[in-house]
């Protein structure tokens, strides 16, 4: 680091000595375009994001030919251990000393809200892909944040509406006891009540609880028709497992509010068949997504999650914007991102709204029964497509000060 600074100093004094002025077309901050990704690399969400996210970003870089305007593109990654303070410190360090031009936020809402603050302070683009909390483009929206893949509002509108329509009028929530779970429960409650349903109770379980059977018995005694799982990752997996074991699925239907394909893969179709879930992407949608997914599979021996596809898309579109304005200047690139259309394997005709929300189609899926699944990872039927702005927060609902 010291060396780099010394070089910079020498270069600057040389420039002063020889009276050279900076050429007007030097619009890049350094010799490389550096993308940073901070995500869960080792804990509960590492399969959904983790190394797979880094590989997806590398695929985007490869698809851009490894360079834009003669500048090499690099990706660096770090593990936030699901701790907001670790994420914020790392982000600050990277912007200050590593010359990171754009930051991609991986899984976990708490860490993303912290990184968004740092990016706003440093005036650098922050593309949040793995986080669910709709606060990123609502109460805490920022001109430097783009929320790329999905959020709690879209999940609630998708699954909540579908389940109430299918006859699930009374709900009980099993909620992960932190910001994300609370937000997801609140958003879903709104949707359920608006659709004529009723929430009869809820229980908050600590993150990573060792056993869910106590909570599930409480849910069962509520006599609700639907058990809404406002949790994620390992918590969702273990609560679905225990619900089957205790025969709760005989009297209540499960509604997983945030379920990734990796969760379905590890639970198996026998346990999860018939379940509704909302997601932003599914690998087995069309020839284009399949082709990309198989490239990913070659490297990681598993199919990509929607978050990993979103990581690819975020990096790819950022680099396209850099190419279009021939600069990595944050303001110019962000302005470009906010006026272009996004077309890639993740979305078609996507665009960034004034609150930072990236608008694209969302999908309501139903998990296939084992006999309908034709190959490994062939798990979903797409039962409904939420077009364009349908799934997202409306202007009337939004509390984002930038979008009024």
């Amino acid at each position: 680091m010291k060396l780099k600074k010394a070089f910079a100093a020498v270069a600057m004094s040389a420039a002063a000595l020889f009276g050279a002025t900076a050429p007007a077309h030097a619009q890049f901050s350094g010799d490389v375009i550096r993308i940073g990704v901070i995500t869960d690399m080792s804990s509960v969400y590492a399969d959904i994001g983790g190394q797979g996210s880094v590989e997806a970003i590398k695929m985007a870089i490869a698809d851009m030919g490894g360079a834009v305007a003669g500048k090499k593109i690099e990706v660096i990654s770090a593990d936030h251990q699901n701790k907001p303070d670790v994420a914020a410190t790392k982000a600050r360090e990277w912007f200050d000393t590593q010359g990171v031009d754009m930051l991609i936020g991986g899984t976990n809402s708490g860490t993303n809200l912290a990184m968004a603050k740092v990016a706003a302070e440093k005036k650098k683009p922050f593309l949040s892909v793995g986080a669910a909390s709709s606060a990123l483009t609502n109460e805490q929206c920022s001109p430097y944040t783009l929320h790329w893949a999905y959020d709690t509002t879209a999940l609630a509108k998708g699954t909540g509406n579908a389940v109430v329509k299918a006859g699930g009028k009374t709900w009980f929530f099993l909620t992960a006891d932190y910001a994300f779970g609370h937000q997801l429960q609140a958003d879903t409650t709104k949707v359920v009540e608006a659709a004529g349903g009723k929430v009869v109770g809820s229980v908050r379980a600590p993150l990573n609880a060792s056993d869910f059977s106590s909570f599930l018995l409480q849910a069962q005694s509520s006599k609700a028709q639907i058990l809404g799982l406002a949790n994620a990752g390992g918590d969702t997996i273990n609560s679905i497992k225990a619900a089957n074991e205790f025969g709760i699925t005989k009297t209540m239907k499960l509604a997983g509010l945030l379920v990734f394909i990796n969760d379905i893969h590890s639970l198996g179709l026998k346990t999860t068949q018939g379940m509704y879930l909302t997601d932003s992407w599914y690998w087995n949608q069309n020839a284009e997504t399949r082709a990309w997914a198989r490239r990913f599979f070659e490297k990681l021996k598993r199919m990509p999650s929607s978050v990993q596809a979103g990581d690819y898309s975020a990096a790819f579109q950022y680099l396209n914007a850099v190419k279009a304005v021939n600069s990595d200047d944050p303001e110019k690139v962000l302005a470009q991102l906010k006026k272009m259309k996004f077309n890639d394997i993740f979305m078609k005709n996507g665009w960034a709204r004034g609150d930072g929300r990236v608008i694209h189609d969302m999908y309501l899926m139903q998990v296939k029964s084992p006999d309908k699944s034709t190959e490994p990872w062939d798990y979903y039927d797409v039962v409904q497509v939420f077009k364009g702005e349908e799934a997202w927060t409306t202007k009337a609902e939004s509390k984002c000060a930038l979008w009024k």
Partner: protein, 295 residues
């Protein structure tokens, strides 16, 4: 309907039962820790990782070679017990007589390595292990529907705990073991091979952890993180029961499982801290633990 502490009797009995099931796991894991600490003076931080390896061993055997649950119940502990013996021979035996901190650091490092290897191979979402055919289904106890498998867990673990206690407290071999920890040199002078005994003890402790892992495999998702999620609570159980006290750790394990279960009903948000609150209180009032001897 009859009510106890404001909750219906049925729900009360149901939660009591669930608490016992979870307590059975705590008991079996803390038992292994207590045996190892009592006889080797090693704080075995790798215990959670060995539990995880046991569960994975069962899953891999079923997935790759079709080895059924009952065989895995014997084979996985044997395998992990052997791993334990290797760990003792290669590493731990160099640490006897040193500050216990070294043993703690070594086993902590080992557990990180084991966890990392499995994470790399299998990912964190984990694998599902199906409940064995003979134990699937559930029994209606009147106050709750108890999955047969959970009932089996309670029976199996209490049998194992009592067996271990009997072996150590009531047999000649156990007497050697206890004597060996009091004064190794003197016992060796009587012709008992103490180093081998210590090695086998660590192996047995590891096997106990693996057995708990196999028992847990059908109940929770088999993941590389399953051990580290549990081990801290188990340590608290050992501390509350009294370090090295065998019967103490078993009773405390069951008791804390039940207390934790009820916390999940009355104040669910506190259910993952209640064990530590109890630990703090016990340490203030009885620093040696509930069943420990004041040193």
């Amino acid at each position: 309907m009859t009510e106890i502490f404001g909750i219906p009797l049925q729900a009360f009995l149901g939660q009591l039962m669930l608490g016992l099931v979870n307590g059975a796991f705590y008991a079996m894991l803390s038992l292994g820790l207590a045996v190892i600490f009592g006889l080797l003076d090693i704080v075995n931080f790798a215990h959670g990782a060995l539990y995880m390896v046991g569960a994975f061993a069962a899953w891999i055997m079923l997935d790759k070679w079709g080895v059924n649950y009952w065989a895995a119940l014997v084979l996985a502990p044997l395998l992990v017990g052997t791993l334990g013996v290797i760990i003792e021979r290669l590493f731990l035996k160099r640490l006897y007589g040193l500050d216990p901190l070294y043993g703690l650091l070594l086993t902590f490092g080992l557990s990180l390595i084991l966890e990392g290897i499995f994470r790399d191979q299998f990912g964190v979402s984990g694998q599902s292990y199906a409940v064995p055919e003979a134990l699937s289904g559930a029994t209606n106890l009147g106050f709750m529907v108890l999955p047969n498998y959970r009932a089996w867990v309670v029976v199996a673990s209490i049998t194992v705990c009592l067996g271990t206690w009997f072996l150590i407290e009531r047999t000649r071999l156990g007497a050697y073991l206890r004597a060996g920890t009091e004064n190794a040199k003197l016992v060796q002078a009587f012709g008992v091979n103490v180093p081998v005994m210590v090695m086998l003890t660590y192996g047995a402790g590891a096997a106990l952890a693996a057995l708990a892992g196999v028992l847990a495999a059908p109940v929770i998702q088999v993941t590389p993180l399953m051990g580290s999620n549990l081990i801290i609570v188990v340590f608290a159980v050992v501390v509350i029961g009294g370090m090295g006290s065998i019967l103490g750790s078993v009773i405390t394990g069951l008791l804390l499982g039940v207390i934790e279960g009820f916390t999940r009903v009355f104040y669910p948000e506190a259910s993952n801290v209640v064990v530590f609150v109890i630990m703090a209180i016990v340490l203030m009032l009885r620093p040696a633990g509930l069943f420990g001897k004041e040193g």
